[in-house]
Amino acid sequence: MTIDLFVTCVNDALFPETGMATARLLERLGHTVRFDERQTCCGQMHLNSGYPKEAIGLVRRFVEIFEGAEAVVAPSGSCVAMVRELYPRAAEWAGDHELAERARGLKVYELSEFLTGVLGLEDVGAYYPHHVTYHPTCHAMRLLKVGDAPLRLLRKVRGMTLVELPQAEGCCGFGGTFSVKNPETSAAMLADKVRAVMDTRAEVCTAGDNSCLMHIGGGLSRLRSGARAVHLAEILAGTEASA
């Protein structure tokens, strides 16, 4: 299958290794990965922060670039949720019914749902010799309903000890610009998440979204907790050679 990688702007600029790992993993599974250099940002930050006009321009760009793709895969639950759940609505709010229809026709998948749902895989041949705890990100869980797909993938990773995260379904408090506009409330939410991660004694907290992980990881790093945040794709891409 030819897969179009939507790397997301956050990964492109801040976490390129996640994008590379996603590509390596999909190629290892026998697929061809394309990266369309015209891509930038899905517009989530603008729509969610109260800038629908600015967002709709980015919606249109995305639709034009990825329309007709067999499968677009992104290592981010919230960006995929933006495309799948919010694009049609944002377009309707802007009065652009045609754009909404085109958005509904896109085939965009979050990495874990693509691996388990479309490719029907659980064991992707990964090796990752660490203690890991998994945080289900809100948009992957509630908007995309990926369920236990990431956990099913993680359970098959060799060498890894998966530790259950207490109160896993609680939001980490990132929420995009929420963490900037209401940093104190966001910090109170983060405190509980960081405590939960530290309670597991795992050295790695993983998730399917680097924006949430940037938040959790930022807290873990500030506290010199010794634990760090690693994207799911980087774990699944791990091999004995790379370890």
């Binding site: 790397v7 702007c9 990964n11 492109d12 600029a13 801040l14 976490f15 390129p16 290794e17 994008g19 590379m20 590509a23 990266f35 250099e37 015209r38 891509q39 930038t40 940002c41 517009g43 930050m45 603008h46 729509l47 969610n48 922060s49 109260g50 800038y51 629908p52 600015e54 321009g57 980015l58 760009r61 709010w93 809100c138 948009h139 509630r142 908007l143 379904e169 939001c171 408090g173 990132f174 929420g175 995009g176 610009t177 929420f178 963490s179 506009k181 209401n182 940093p183 104190e184 409330t185 966001s186 910090a187 109170a188 939410m189 940037m214 990881g217 930022g218 807290g219 790093s221 500030r222």
Partner: protein, 472 residues
């Protein structure tokens, strides 16, 4: 003080700074919301047709809202025929005036109240106080708030921010109660002694309404303590203040909501007291019944295609109990009798997004979506939050920054350049690979979190290099 209206006195962020620092409140709230959240989950899981019920509830409400123009007059006709009197109030002031006038016409100096958010919304207690009429809250938690000169912080459990020890101290001080322990039974006993006397001596009662059935003129109040039942049956005059969105078209519709509401709110299969009455009946209950129909911004909300789903709300509070923001910041941070996720969309819509404090409420959410999952009438609260954010008049520095980012993202070349510039600009801020301090708007982030620094190469640069290696 109890009640308090819906006008936030300050932006959410400012208000939350105080409440977040209240360690006792944080503990009380965490305990209470965690407990009720788990109970609700169990109560809902018992019903195999829960999703169908939610759909039915939403459909009935949508139908009622789309037919208000015919259903409200139908309700008025039915209530009038049954011996009641219907009053129409455009806003809070008119509604308070109507209630005060009726109470005064009976010479009342004191009235008893059934727990009611609509009367808190219009700040009825203060309006009555100004006319020399004292309103006594009879719901235990509302009474705790009133005696403590405190504001309710939860729709259903107004004193959720208080614990037993605090309530005992309050009852000792304000009711002169002899309370050797803070056992719930002892606290309830002290309140009962105080309230029973009020029920037996007060002539006028004021209530809200959970539902009103247009075809029969029946009004319904759902409660747990029985104090509401006392107010609804003992005094001679009953005045009910009800938002116009509380209407149900048919009698049988009530059945759906009597299943949805208790499980969502108190996690009970059925609530202990359901009172329903149609007008007046000689020799049984109040001899005089007034129904005040309150608009107060609701028809404006109704006009908005996206926002109108907010009016489906049945005030169950399930969204408050699952909200991670509510759990930390508490109800008072919302500055309105409607706190939590529903308050974050209802308050600014009732007041209008031009209200400079209320319009900060849609931002009091991480958009985690837990509220939508539990809403018994499927209000897509995150959708409405995002939609309302789009109606904000943004401050200039933020607007400039967001427009600049959108411009950069409008073209891959510009995006690449922006990354390069940011990489240069971050230089002095990066220590040990992370950023520990950021200026201005971003300072709140780095107060307790490290920010990642931009790596030497972006993904697109790495990808290109890989392709070149492959090609070579």
């Amino acid at each position: 003080m109890s009640g308090g209206g819906i006008h936030p006195a300050q932006p959410f962020r400012e208000a939350a700074k105080d409440t977040l620092a209240d360690a006792q409140m944080r503990r009380n709230l965490r305990h209470a919301t965690t407990t009720i959240r788990e109970k609700r989950q169990r109560a809902v899981a018992e019903l195999p047709d829960w999703e169908a019920l939610r759909l039915a509830g939403a459909a009935i409400k949508d139908e009622a809202l789309s037919r208000l123009g015919e259903l409200l007059p139908q309700l008025e006709e039915a209530v009038t025929k049954a011996g009641g009197k219907v009053h129409w109030a455009r806003d809070a002031e008119e509604a308070c005036g109507i209630v005060a006038e009726i109470a005064a016409s009976h010479g009342a100096r004191e009235i008893v109240k059934v727990k009611s958010i609509a009367t808190d919304e219009i700040d009825l207690n203060h309006a009555l106080e100004a006319k020399g009429i004292h309103a006594v809250e009879t719901d235990l938690a509302e009474l705790i708030c009133q005696l403590g000169e405190d504001r309710p912080s939860h729709i259903l459990v107004p004193a959720i921010h208080r614990n037993r020890a605090e309530v005992r101290d309050l009852f000792r001080a304000k009711l002169g109660a002899d309370l050797p322990t803070d056992e719930p039974a002892a606290l309830a006993g002290a309140a009962r002694t105080y309230l029973r006397e009020k029920f037996l001596t007060t002539k006028v009662a004021v209530s809200g309404a959970n539902f009103a059935v247009a075809e029969t003129g029946t009004v319904c109040v759902v409660e747990s303590e029985g104090n509401g039942r006392m107010c609804l049956t003992l005094p001679k005059v009953l005045i009910t203040v009800m938002g116009i969105e509380k209407l149900l078209p048919r009698w049988e519709d009530a059945a759906t909501f009597l299943r949805l509401l208790p499980r969502s709110s108190t996690a009970e299969r059925m609530n202990p007291y359901t009172s329903m009455w149609t007008g007046v009946r000689q020799g049984d209950g109040p001899g005089e019944f007034h129904l005040v129909l309150l608009d107060a911004g609701r028809t404006d909300v109704l006009k908005d295609e996206v926002g109108r789903q907010t009016l489906r709300c049945i005030r169950c509070s399930a969204c408050l109990n699952v909200c991670p923001v509510y759990e930390r910041a508490g109800g008072h941070a919302y500055g309105s009798v409607y706190p939590g996720p529903i308050g974050a969309i209802l308050t600014p819509q009732l007041l209008g997004m031009h209200d400079g404090n209320a319009n900060t409420l849609p931002y009091a959410s991480s958009l985690c979506g837990a509220c939508y999952d539990v809403c018994p009438v499927r209000i897509d609260i995150p959708e409405v939050l995002i939609y309302l954010r789009g109606k904000t008049a943004h401050a200039l520095p933020e607007k400039t920054a967001m427009k600049a980012v959108a411009w950069a993202m409008g073209d891959p070349g510009r995006f690449k350049l922006a990354i390069r510039l940011a990489r240069l600009g971050q230089g002095p801020l990066v220590h040990d690979g992370v950023i520990r301090w950021l200026p201005g708007m971003l300072g709140g982030w780095t107060a307790v979190r490290d920010a990642p620094s931009l790596p030497k190469r972006s993904f697109r640069e790495l990808w290109r290099e890989r392709d070149e290696v492959k090609g070579a």
